[in-house]
Symmetry: D2
Subunit: 360 residues, 4 copies
C-alpha cells in the first residue's frame, strides 16, 4: 500500500512527483509556540539543492519553500503545517525510451508490477526529489529538539574512505562533498569528476551524529531508537544498509572489546569509556552521541548500455540520459540529517507522553 | 513510549518479561480459514529454544505454546490469535548485584533513565526471551505467505566468516550454528567453546533469504520493503546493523558494477543477471530473492569485570554471571526468519488492500 | 495532540486555516488506475460551497480544487494525491474583539487552554472551511467504491422535521436545504430566513444512506462500521450526536420490535424484513443500506450579546458578527456524505487486505 | 480487517472468545511507576460480572483477573501489561441450531459473509464477554487520570426513563440497575422481570459523566474528544447511538438557547452558565464535565421465533435459547465508564506529548 507518512507523535506526510507542478509535506503534531518562518527551513533545502557544484546534478531548482498553514504571527499553532515547493525545472525531454523499457536498478519494473502502470517522467514518486519535502520537515523537527545538534558527513565515496585522523568538523561546509577530511575532499574531486565525465556513478557512505540527546528516548521493543533510525534511513532513495554505532564491526568483536564501560560523570551524569553502541542500549538513548552510518548505492542512472526488457517483455538495451548525480550519496547528507532530526523529535514527544508526568 | 506492536495490516503485539509467569503475543489481522494448531508453531519455537547445545544458554525452557483465541475447529477465524508461553525455568538467583549497579552495554541504565526504575530480574522486558513471542507470531505469518520460502543462517561468528563456495542449504539444520558451510561449522565449535569457557561472548552476522516473493510487494515511500525489513531486524536484541542485498559493499561500487541487468525470463517473467539490490527496487519487490544481513553484537553479559556505576552514581565494577549465550547471534537465526515472515505477510496484505481490485 | 489524519488503509490528511492562503488534503493509499481529474471532485465542492443561497453564509469562495500529485495521464498512480484549494475571500475585518475575548460555544477558549494561544482569524483550524478538504477527499473515495451510492439529506431544522411520507429523493437537489420533502423545504424557507434576519442560528439533523455496500465490510471489535461512522461524523464541526440505524429509538424497544427478520432473497442473497440496525450486525455490513443520522448544534455565532470572559479572565460580553451560516447543518450534508464515502472506501480496502485471498 | 486495538498513546488490544479458554487484554503505553495490583482491577470486573442479580444473565463467571506482565514490585514498569481472565462457565450446550441458521440481529450472518465461516459458540468474538477485557484495561486507565472521576448510570430502560429531579448519585450502587433515581429503579424491577420471564429483551440508555478533566485535552480535527468518545462507545456490543452533551436535543434549538455563557470563575478559572456542549468545544475539553449518552438496542437473543435463513439460504425460524441479559444496557454501565476512562487517559498522554514542553 502507498505509505507516505512517517512518525508516531511528530508525524509528516510527503507528496509529489519529480515532474508534477509541486511537491510538499504536511507536518502534524508539532508543539505550539515555536518560532517558525520560511527562513528557518530554506537553508536546509539550499544545502540539499541540486546544481550547487559540478559534482551534483545540473537540474536547477530554486526549491523555495512556502508555509501554507500551521503558523500564526510567526509561531507554530499546534495545527498541521503544510509546506509546498514548486517544481520549476522540469525540462521537457523525451521520455519515450524510458516509457518503453525498464531501467535496471530503478523502480520502473517494480512500480509497474505493483500498480499496473507508472509515471515514467523522471521517476515519478520514486525520484529523489521527494527528499526535499523531508528536508523541509526536518528543519521543523530541529526546532522541536533544540537540545540536540545533528551533523552528517560523507565518510567514503566508492572505495575511497576519508581518514578519521583528519576529522575537522569545520571542513564539512567548506567543500562540495560534506567531507570533514580536507585531504579526502581534495582527492574526491578527481574521483567524482571522472565518474561524471564517464557517465558513470559511484556509491557512498554517509555518517551522522546527534549530540545532546538525553538518556531515556526510544522505546522497547518495536520502537527502539535503533529500529526507528534504521527505518528512517532506509526510506531514503538508494540506501541499502544502515549501522548504529559500530554496526557490523561489532559483530566481529568479543564482549570485552565491545564493552562501553561506565564511570561517574559530571553533575551526577554518567561518562562512558567508549561508544561502540552508538548512544543506545536496549533501544533507548544513554546520553552518549547517537551515531549511524548509511550506505548509498551508486545511482542506476548511467550512460553505459545495460541489458533490460521492454514493457512487452522483449529484450533490449537502455542507457539513462539526463541530469543525474554522479554520486547520489553526497546530497544524501542533508537528508540523513533531516531523518535523524525527525526520528528524535518524534521520540522526544513519545517519551514525554508516557514518562512526562509526576512520579510519586 | 512503550511500543510493543509491529505491522500495519498483519499486526502483532508482544508482552512479557524474562522472569514473569509467562510471555505471549496477540496476532491481529490474520486472514481467516488458515489451518492452524500449536503444531504449526512449536517447531519454530523449538529451533529458537535455549539449551539445545552447549553453544547456547543453558536456561531450560519448554517454550510450549498455547493458542488461547482466534481459531475454531483448527482454522483461523480472522479474530485475534492469542499465544502464550509460560516461563518455567526462572532460576531463583541473587539479583542484588544487578539491582545495585548498571551492567554496561545492557539496557539497565537506559531503562532506569527512562522509567525511573527497572525490573532487574534477567533484563525484564529487554531480555531476549521476548523473541520467543515473535517466533511464534512468525510461524503464523508463514501460513499467510505459503508462496514464500524463508531461510536464515549464520554467516560469520566474530571474525570467522563462512565460505560461500561451500554453501549447502542442507547443512543449516545439521549443525548447532545454523551454518550452511560444514567446514566453518566445525571450526566454530572451538571458537564458541573457547568463548563460553572464557566467560566471554562474541558477535555474529546472520543472513536471510526469502524466495518466491512476487514482484510488487512493498510501498513508496515510508513503507519501502528495505525500510520495513531494516526496522524489523533492528528491533531484535543485540542487532546493530542491517543490509539489504549487497548493502555497504554496494557503496564501494560504480553503477556499472552494481547493475542488475534484466532479460526476458520464463513464462513472461523477467530474469536478472545479478541481485545486488536484494530483491527490491524503489522499495518494492522485483521477484528476485529478498535478501538481508544482520549484525549481532557480542552480548554484554561477560564474566570479566567491567567498570560501571551504581544507581547512586558511585564507581564500581560488575561481572555478569548467569546462563548466557556466548554468541547470541546463533539463536538469532529463527528470530530473523520470523521477522522476515512477519514483514512479508504484512506487505502481502497491504498490497492486496491497495492493488487487489479489478483494473479497467 | 494535533491529529489531522483519518483512515487506516485509505487515509487522508487535511491542513489549512480559514484565513491562510489555502487549505488542502493529501489522500494516501488510493488504488491505482482510477480515472481522476479535477472534474470528478469539483461538483462535490460546489455542493458544499458557501454563498449558494441566502440560507447559507455569504462568504464567496470559488473553492476551485487543484490536483498537485498522484495522477498521471488522468489516472491515479497509487501514490499520494495532493489537493489544494486557495482561500480567496478572506475579508479583511477587525478581529480585535475576538482576539480579546472568547466566543462561548466556539473553540476559542479550549484552543487557548490547549496551545497557549490561538489563531483567532475566523476560527483558524477550527473553522468549518476545513470540511472543504474532506469533501474533496470524499470525491476520490467515491471512485474507490463505485458499487455504493451515497445520499444525504436534511431531516429536521430546529424543531421542524420533514415528513418521511413525503420522501422524494429527486427533491434533494431541487431546494437549497437538501430536503427530500418539498413541503418541508418550503416551510423551512421562512424558518431559516427569520433565523438569519434575527442574527440567530438553528440546529439540524442530517441523515445519510449508503446503498450497495456488500455484506462483510467492517471489523470486530475496535473498527466496527458503527464505530468508524460515528467517529467520522463526530469529527465534523458542530456535530453532537450520531445514530446508526434507529439509534436511540431502538433503546426504547423490545427485542421483538427491533428484530430485522431474514428471508431468502434473490440470487442467493438474503432479504430483511426491516433495517432497524442500519445495515450492520456485530459492526459488519449485512448488505442492507447503511444508514445514519447526525445532530448538528446551532452554530455559536450569533448577534445576541452573550456573557463571556477575556483572555485575562475579566467578565465581558460578546456578539459574533461576520458571515455565518444561520443553519450550519445544511451545508453539512455534502460533508456527511463525504465522510460516509471515506469510511466505506477505507473498509473496502481493509476487508480486501484480510479476506481478499483464496480460500481452501 | 480484524482490528482489536484502541488508542493512540495509551493503547490496548483485546483478545478472546466467549467459549475459548480465556480472554484478555494487553495495555501498552501505560506510564511507569503507578501502583497496580489485581486488587485495583477486580472491583470493576465484579461490577460488570454476570449473575449478580436476577436481572442479568445467569452465566456464572468468576472473572478473576491475573496480571501476567508489566508490573514489578507492585508498580507499572512502562512495559506492556498483559491481563488474562479465564472462562470458567462455558456450559456445554447444543449449538447445532445456531450453527445451522443465522440469528437475526446477531453478528452471525455478517461474520459468515466476511470470514467465510464463524465460531458459533456463544457468539465467538462478537460476544459481550469481550467487554470484560476492556473493563480491566479501563481500571488501569483510571490510574493514569487520578484527577478525573467517572460515573455512569442507566437513564432509561425501554420507554421508561428515570426522572433527573430524583438524581441521587448514592443510589447508583444501591440498586441492580445502576440507577440514580430510586423510584425509577423500583419501577424497573417489574419491567425487567417481565421482560426476562417473557423471554424477551429491552433497550436502554446509559449516561456517563467525567468530572475533573482539565481544559485542553482532545485534538483538532480527527481526534476530537467528541469523536474519540463516540468511536469508543460505538465499539461496545449493542450500541446504536451516542450523544455528547445535549446531542440531538441541541439540534432542535437556536443558538441563544444552546449557548454556554462564560464568566470568571474561581482561582483564575472560567465558569459556565450551562453545559449543553458536554464539556467540549472544537473537540477539546473546556474544563466542564465531559458528558455522553449511549443507546443500547435490546439484545437480539429472544425466545420468540423469528424468520431467518440457514447457511444454505433456506427459509427457517429460530429462537435464541441460552442465558442472556434481558437488558444488556444495564451491564453496559461499567463498560461505558471504562471506555470513557480509556479515551481520557489516551488524550491526557497525547496532550502531554504535544503541549507538555516549556513555552518561551
Amino acid at each position: 500500500m502507498s505509505w507516505n507518512t512517517f512518525g508516531r507523535a511528530f508525524r509528516f506526510t510527503t507528496w509529489g512527483e519529480s515532474h508534477g507542478p509541486a511537491l510538499g509535506v504536511v507536518v502534524d503534531g508539532c508543539p505550539p509556540g515555536l518560532r517558525l518562518t520560511e527562513d528557518d527551513i530554506q537553508p536546509f533545502l539550499d544545502a540539499r539543492k541540486p546544481g550547487q557544484s559540478k559534482y551534483t546534478t545540473q537540474r536547477k531548482e530554486a526549491d523555495a519553500v512556502r508555509i501554507l498553514s500551521g503558523t500564526f504571527e510567526g509561531r507554530t499553532t499546534g495545527t498541521p503545517i503544510s509546506l509546498m515547493i514548486e517544481n520549476t525545472d522540469q525540462r521537457s525531454k523525451d521520455y519515450s525510451e524510458v516509457a518503453k523499457a525498464y531501467r535496471p536498478g530503478h523502480a520502473d519494473y517494480a512500480y509497474d508490477a505493483k500498480y499496473g502502470f507508472r509515471d515514467y517522467r523522471g521517476g515519478g514518486r520514486s525520484s529523489a526529489r521527494e527528499t526535499a519535502a523531508r528536508v523541509a520537515a526536518g528543519a521543523i523537527a530541529r526546532l522541536v529538539i533544540p537540545e540536540v545538534a545533528i551533523t552528517g558527513w560523507v565518510e567514503a565515496i566508492g572505495p575511497h574512505a576519508m581518514d578519521y585522523a583528519n576529522f575537522d568538523a569545520e571542513q564539512i561546509a567548506a567543500n562540495p562533498f560534506f567531507c570533514p577530511d580536507a585531504q579526502a575532499a581534495a582527492d574526491w574531486e578527481g574521483v567524482v569528476d571522472a565518474t561524471r565525465k564517464a557517465g558513470s556513478s559511484i556509491g557512498a557512505v554517509v555518517a551522522c551524529e546527534a549530540t545532546g540527546v538525553p538518556p531515556g528516548w526510544g522505546a522497547p521493543v518495536y520502537a527502539k531508537l535503533d529500529s526507528e533510525i534504521a527505518a528512517a534511513m532506509m526510506t531514503i532513495n538508494a540506501t541499502k544498509g544502515v549501522e548504529i554505532g559500530d554496526g557490523f564491526a561489532a559483530a566481529r568483536r568479543s564482549g570485552e572489546e565491545n564493552a562501553d564501560a561506565m564511570a561517574p560523570g559530571e553533575d551526577g551524569a554518567v561518562s562512558f569509556a567508549a561508544n561502540h553502541s552508538g548512544g543506545t542500549a536496549g533501544g533507548i538513548s544513554t546520553g552518549q552521541p547517537v551515531t549511524c552510518r548509511v550506505a548509498f548505492k551508486p545511482t542506476s542512472s548511467i550512460l553505459t548500455l545495460v541489458d533490460t526488457v521492454t514493457r512487452d517483455g522483449e529484450a533490449t538495451q537502455i542507457r539513462t540520459k539526463g541530469r543525474h548525480d554522479p554520486c547520489v550519496g553526497i546530497r544524501g547528507v542533508p537528508v540523513v540529517e533531516a531523518m535523524m532530526a525527525l526520528v528524535l523529535a518524534d521520540q522526544k514527544l513519545l517519551h514525554r507522553a508516557q514518562c512526562g508526568g509526576e512520579r510519586d
